[in-house]
Each structure stands twice: as C-alpha cells, then as structure tokens.
C-alpha cells in the first residue's frame, strides 16, 4: 500500500471511529433494554458488557484472520512485504484479545456465580475461555518471537508459520462452546447458538452496531501501527545508508 493511499485510509478510518463510538455509547445507555427488575437477571448493569465483550473478541478474531491471510501470503509468495502488516494486525489483535479476556473474566465471575461458581478458577477452566487464554499466550509468543529472531527473511517466515498455526485457536474457540456440553459460555449468534441466549431485535441491532464500531477501531489501530512500521523502516534505511 502506497503512503498516500495509507494516509487516506487512515483518515477515513479515524472519522469512522470518531463517528461510531459516541453513537454506540448512546445506543448502549439509552436504546438497549434496561434489564433491572427482571427476576432471572441477577446483574442487570453488568449485562451491558454484552455490547463490548463479544465485539472486542470479534475484532481480535478479525485481526488474527488478517495475520493468518498475510502469513499464508508470506509463505506462499516468499515475499517479506506482507510481514509488516501481519505483525501490525497481530499486535492490535492481541490488545483486543486482552480487552475481551478482561471483560469476559469480570462478567463470568458475576454471571456464573449464580450456580455457586464465583471463582476465577471456574472462569479459566471453562473450555471456551481456556481456548481464548491459549490464543492470547500464542500471540504474545508470536510478538516475543519477532524480537528474538534475527534476519528479516528468517523472522518473516518463522512468524508466518507461527501466525498460521496460532489462528487455529479462533475456529477452535467457536467450536468448543458449541460442541462441548460442559461449556458455560453462551453462544448468542451464528450456527449452533443457544436458543435461551438468543437476543431480540433491539439488542441484536445494538450488538451489530458495536461490532461495526470495534471493527472500525481495529482498522484505524491497524493502519496507525502500520504507519509506525513504515517510519521505522525509513529510519533504518537512512541509518544504514
């Protein structure tokens, strides 16, 4: 991607992010239902995390898919030009993954305590959460690996192989809660979603909007991180000239 195109995309994504986030906050506070007073809802305020937790996980998964696709390109075309965008996507995805884990942990402790399982150990032994924790460590290792390996081409190839393998955690996390009956994690959308966790039209619309807002933020952060990589490359070229 050329510098001018990158700058134009970055400006566009910044405006999209600036436009969607205030709207999302308005929808969460004033349009989404107030669950207080319902007998089967023990923590109505915490339930509003629904509009941040899944969207941050989806943004992380989208970022890891970008890493996967660009890593395939690195391995297939033996071209390191795809390496910098892959690294940028991995770093941004890792941040969204951290946010999803933090919000999910807090929500899990609150919601799953109904059945007397209010411990951190219960949350982290839940199959889907466990897969996402493994995913988090995998991409932490991916980012660490890049600092330890010397040689641009060698680093790109090793990271690409790691990126492709690491992405396998994403379909696995979708499958675990759908296939394992022991899973406490509800699935609100997609094939195999729990009927009792299905959301209504209003909640569904706000949830879809939150996915758009997080995706816009992901694109903006990714392009900002890519710009830093380009600047670092230009500095390195000047210093070695």
């Amino acid at each position: 991607m050329r510098e001018a195109t990158l700058a134009a995309w970055r400006r566009g994504s910044l405006w999209a992010t600036l436009a969607t986030w205030p709207v999302l906050l308005y929808l969460v506070w004033f349009v989404a239902p107030d669950w207080s007073g319902l007998a089967d809802v023990s923590a109505p305020l915490t339930r509003k995390v629904l509009f941040f937790h899944p969207a941050s996980a989806w943004a992380a998964f989208a970022a890891y898919f970008v890493v996967f696709a660009l890593s395939i390109a690195v391995l297939n075309e033996r071209d390191v030009k795809y390496d910098a965008p892959a690294r940028a996507a991995a770093e941004v995805g890792f941040w969204f993954n951290t946010v999803a884990l933090a919000t999910g942990t807090l929500w899990g402790i609150q919601e799953w305590s109904d059945s007397g399982n209010a411990s951190l150990a219960t949350v982290y032994s839940e199959p889907k959460v466990l897969v996402v924790v493994v995913l988090w460590f995998t991409f932490a290792a991916y980012l660490l690996l890049r600092r330890l390996v010397d040689g641009e081409e060698r680093r790109a190839r090793l990271s690409a192989a790691f990126g492709v393998l690491g992405f396998l955690g994403v379909p696995l996390s979708f499958a675990t809660s759908r296939l394992l009956s022991t899973s406490l994690h509800p699935d609100i959308a997609g094939p195999g979603a729990n009927p009792d966790a299905a959301v209504g039209a209003t909640v569904g619309s706000v949830l879809a909007f939150s996915a758009v807002a997080f995706l816009a933020l992901f694109i903006h952060l990714w392009l900002a991180r890519l710009r830093i990589a380009r600047l670092a490359d230009r500095i390195e070229a000047l210093e070695t000239a």
Binding site: A43, T46, V49, F52, A102, T103, A232, I235
Partner: protein
C-alpha cells in the same frame, strides 16, 4: 461476588482505559519516530548548488 456496579465499572474501564492507553502509546511512538526521521533527513540532505561552504 462483587457488586453489579463494581463489575460493570471495571469492565467499562478495561475497554476504554485499555484501548485509550494503546492509542496513546501508538501516537507517542509515531511522534517520536517522526522527529527522529526529520532529524535524519535534515542531516543527510544534500546541499543545493551554491549553498554550503565554498572550496578554498
């Protein structure tokens, strides 16, 4: 079990403080690199004809 309000506040903080910290980190890194690049480009810029010290 923590209170409903506490859990929501901490979750909200995780989303906004986490992402704001990352945005701030990216912005600070970009500014630092831009300043470094400008210094390097100024140092390596070739003087135009007629500029700079003349031959003795």
């Amino acid at each position: 079990m923590p209170a409903d309000e506490t859990t929501f506040f901490l979750s909200f903080l995780a989303v906004f403080a986490g992402l704001a910290a990352y945005l701030w980190h990216l912005d600070r890194t970009a500014r630092r690199l831009e300043a470094r690049l400008a210094t390097l480009e100024a140092a390596t810029a070739k003087p135009k004809p007629g500029e700079g010290p003349g031959l003795p």
